[in-house]
């Protein structure tokens, strides 16, 4: 994919082709899966041996059971829709920008129209790179969903972590994007460490990582549930479940590891949709859903929750409320949706915590659709605002809701689809999928007598409806509050078509899961989802209750919240006006707006000390003093030896020999030179002397 850097059309065609293939395959499998009876007991799938470890093999393989089938359904749809949307979002077909540089978002090109030149949106410089990365992301998600053991699931998990870093920091020229990417990666990593610990514990205890061996196996579950681990007196099942849950806390942005998700808005909007709706956060919840048998091992419905489940319920409910309060006070359209995601994920986690397995899975699926819809819709709104910016040349943030307004008439398709998604999010009764799934959760909490959870979730639902209405009012209703908003217009069909498809699902999907207890409609609905998914859970999920309280509560909170929000915000006239809530809530509003200062707390408590340690301990002390010191010492030693050899041995001995030879020869020559002094008498004397010597020698040897 990266080789098609110059051929943008090739890259997006390849990507969409691949996504479509996956989509078709997923649909085929889904249809087969839903038509197979008893899928939970005998899931489709296969295995191969992969890595040898000692006597055993690490196996990889695929498995399709009801949960997988459901996941495949929504993953395939959302991914395909997001891919198609991205073609338009990144302005394929538009001219290249004037001074667009790779690494920064594109900001327009000059085009000569009739008469004077005007600016249009320009194509993203790193177009092909984007498609390559989201294709990788999609691959990781598919891998995670169809894997049959924890190892390949973890591989997909980690690949998604990497891709989130790459994609959040897609526009790497912006420092805020870079920092956000790193923040996302590191925060999810913290969760991943604990998850790896759980994975290792599971492998060492059971000798396998496959789902069939562990999760469908009563004997294993019983042993794990009853043997006690050394940590906090939990059972091993509980401990492993807790560790895996911490991975989910990181990946699905629950408190306290939620801080990366709002900053992840630095990435392009399709990325936000993908990460925060369709794939990454869903993966976290999928993990705990998959491991629900392990987490709930030893729990009998109707009785007290296991410690792990209590922790999950607490964190989930707390996060739901916490994030909803923050979302009320945000002004960036994407940030509201980010906190909304955190809140909804809290719902799912809480649902699992109280044992409502089917409800959690149901909410996961519906949330994926309407959250993706909302994100893509916000992307469309931002595109419209940027178009307006091109016209007016104002300098304001196109994402700030206070600058918008009256877009209902300018961007009708976006408006209606956004409303569909927003109503689903708020749980508008009957015609939205969100209503059915949220209602399931609330009734599960109520019937299981978890009053604290119920109350928290209900309050969170109220706030959810409130901020949704706020968002819709500020963005679409009323009069345009800036020139830019006045000049906005509808985006291209390639972007609005996915919106409409997703809106369709947001409305209709809920009807597959109408529970039997529901008045009137319940008796005629087949409650297909409950029975399909219910196969997976061996133990009963929760007590069947027939009270109408949860139903009434959800009606009240959703309708009430929507109305309240609309009333408060429909009179918001200009961007400089103070938020009405600020007047109402006072200092609380400031707390919400600043996100409870969690980031700042982390900065002081964790990041600065870590930086100090890294700087001083590691760098200055260990690195420079110890390691470099050792290296310098060795170098000096080597130099010393070299010097020693040179001056001690090389020069005196080797050179000395050579010089000595030469000097000796010279000396001898000088000595012998004196024989030739030019004096003939001297020569004669020498001759006589030598004759005498030789004669004596001859006489000595010959005669005697």
């Amino acid at each position: 994919m990266l080789f098609t850097r110059r051929f943008n059309r090739t890259s997006h065609i390849t990507a969409i082709l691949a996504a479509s293939l996956s989509f078709v395959a997923s649909m085929v499998i889904f249809i087969k899966a839903v038509t197979t009876a008893g899928l939970a007991q005998s899931p489709l799938g296969g295995q191969v041996n992969w890595l040898p470890t000692g006597d055993l093999w690490l196996k990889i393989g695929v498995m399709v059971d009801p949960l997988t089938a459901i996941m495949l359904f929504f993953v395939a749809w959302t991914i395909l829709m997001i891919f198609i949307y991205s073609v338009g979002y990144h302005n394929f077909g538009q001219p290249v920008g004037d001074h667009d540089r790779t690494g920064l978002p594109p900001h327009g090109a000059e085009v000569k129209g009739q008469g004077k030149p005007f600016r249009v949106m320009s194509i993203e410089p790193m177009y092909a790179r984007f498609f390559a990365l989201i294709s990788l992301f999609a691959f990781a998600m598919y891998l995670l969903v169809v894997s049959d053991n924890l190892l390949t699931l973890y591989i997909g998990w980690e690949i998604m972590g990497l891709c989130s870093y790459l994609l959040i920091g897609f526009w790497y020229g912006k420092e805020s994007a870079r920092k956000a990417g790193i923040k996302a990666f590191i925060t999810t990593r913290i969760g991943d460490v604990f998850m790896l610990l759980g994975l290792a514990a599971l492998y060492s205890l059971t000798g396998s990582l496959g789902f069939k061996e562990i999760l469908s196996n009563h004997a294993v579950l019983d042993i794990l549930a009853t043997s006690v681990s050394p940590v906090f007196g939990l059972s091993w099942a509980g401990l492993i479940g807790l560790l895996l849950f911490i991975g989910t806390v990181g990946k699905s942005a629950q408190f306290p590891l939620h801080v990366w998700l709002p900053d992840a808005m630095e990435g392009p909007t399709p990325v936000s949709a993908m990460i925060h709706a369709a794939t990454m956060v869903s993966a976290g919840v999928y993990l705990v859903i998959r491991f629900f048998p392990l987490i709930s091992a030893g729990w009998i419905p109707g009785e007290a929750l296991t410690p792990t489940m209590s922790v999950m319920a607490f964190i989930g409910a707390f996060t739901a409320l916490f994030a909803a309060t923050i979302a009320m006070a945000q002004n960036d359209v994407k940030r509201v949706l980010a906190y909304s995601t955190i809140s909804q994920l809290g719902y799912m986690v809480a649902a699992l915590g109280i044992g409502a397995f089917t409800a959690a899975a149901f909410h996961l699926v519906t949330h994926a659709f309407f959250k993706a819809l909302l994100f893509l819709g916000s992307g469309s709104v931002i595109h419209g605002m940027e178009h307006g910016l091109m016209h007016t040349g104002e300098s304001l943030d196109p994402q700030d809701m206070r600058n918008m307004g009256g877009l209902k008439d300018k961007m009708p398709r976006t408006f209606w689809t956004f409303v569909a998604g927003g109503l689903a999010l708020s749980g508008f009764p009957l015609i939205t999928a969100g209503f059915w799934s949220k209602d399931e959760i609330l009734s599960g909490a109520f019937n299981g007598a978890h009053w604290a959870v119920f109350a928290t979730l209900a309050l969170a639902a109220l706030l959810t409806a409130f901020y949704t209405a706020r968002q819709i009012s500020l963005v679409f209703l009323g009069e345009p509050r800036s020139e830019t908003a006045r000049h906005a217009h509808e985006t291209k069909p390639v972007m609005t078509t996915p919106l409409m498809i997703l809106a369709f699902f947001a409305v209709t999907l809920g009807w597959v899961g109408i529970p039997k207890e529901f008045p009137l409609l319940g008796s005629i609905s087949p409650a297909w989802l409950q029975s399909f998914l219910g196969q997976m859970v061996e133990i009963g999920e929760h007590a069947e209750g027939h009270s109408l309280v949860p139903l009434l509560t959800s009606l009240v909170v959703s309708l009430g919240g929507l109305t309240l929000g609309w009333l408060v915000y429909r009179r918001f006239r200009s961007a400089d006006q103070t938020d009405p809530m600020e007047k109402g809530l006072g200092f609380l509003f400031r707390i919400f707006q600043n996100m409870y200062w969690v980031d700042e707390a982390y900065e002081v408590v964790f990041i600065r000390p870590a930086g100090w340690v890294a700087e001083n301990l590691s760098y200055k002390f260990i690195d420079r003093t110890l390691i470099d010191g050792a290296l310098h010492g060795i170098a000096k030693l080597g130099l010393g030896i070299g010097r020693l050899l040179r001056f001690g041995f090389d020069l005196p001995v080797v050179n000395g020999a050579g010089d000595g030879l030469a000097g000796g020869t010279k000396g001898m020559g000088a000595l012998l030179r004196r024989l030739q002094n030019g004096k003939i008498q001297h020569y004669m004397g020498l001759a006589v002397m030598f004759i005498v010597v030789i004669a004596m020698i001859i006489i000595y040897f010959v005669v005697i």
Binding site: H682, V688, M689, V692
Partner: protein, 173 residues
């Protein structure tokens, strides 16, 4: 001791004395004159050896020519303050030693050579006259060649000597 032996001994003493004076004389003229005396003594020895021709030749040539030549050379190469110092150079002592060794060696080898001890009484030849020598020198079968060669040698030497000693007035100035 026969008379001829006494004559020989006296003659030998004269020769040796003259020779010693020749090599140790301070003034070159004295040395040359002592040399003449030594040569005369050698001529007597030749006569005792029944080589009368050579005795005469010795006197004629050595004394008459060579000694005169040397006297001429001495006179031609005199310097002002010459012959004031000792006539020997620095190596005289070492040379004396070596020469002494040589002499001793020679004596020993002469005395201990059996062949040389005998022949105290030689037979007197009759046919060895000058005429025979002359005939031998000019007979191509005998010794004409050495004779001619030595003549040429002498000629060459003369020419060479003339050339070397020739004063180069024309070219030098």
């Amino acid at each position: 001791m026969t008379g001829i032996q006494i004559l020989f001994i006296v003659n030998a003493l004269v020769i040796i004395f003259s020779a010693v004076m020749t090599v140790t004389a301070r003034h070159m003229i004295h040395a040359a004159l002592w040399f003449v005396l030594a040569l005369l003594g050698v001529a007597v020895v030749y006569a005792m050896l029944e080589a009368g021709f050579f005795a005469v030749v010795q006197v004629l040539i050595y004394v008459g020519a060579i000694a005169i030549l040397i006297i001429f050379a001495v006179m031609l190469t005199r310097r002002a303050l010459e012959d004031q110092e000792k006539p020997f150079n620095r190596a005289s002592l070492v040379t004396l030693l070596i020469v002494g060794i040589v002499f001793v060696g020679l004596i020993l080898s002469i005395r201990f050579w059996p062949l040389l001890q005998s022949t105290t009484v030689p037979l007197s030849p009759d046919q060895l006259t000058v005429g025979t020598l002359g005939l031998a020198l000019t007979d191509p079968q005998q010794f004409a060649l050495p004779f001619e060669v030595t003549s040429i040698l002498l000629l060459a030497a003369m020419i060479g000597a003339i050339y070397i000693a020739h004063e180069r007035k024309e070219k030098g100035k």
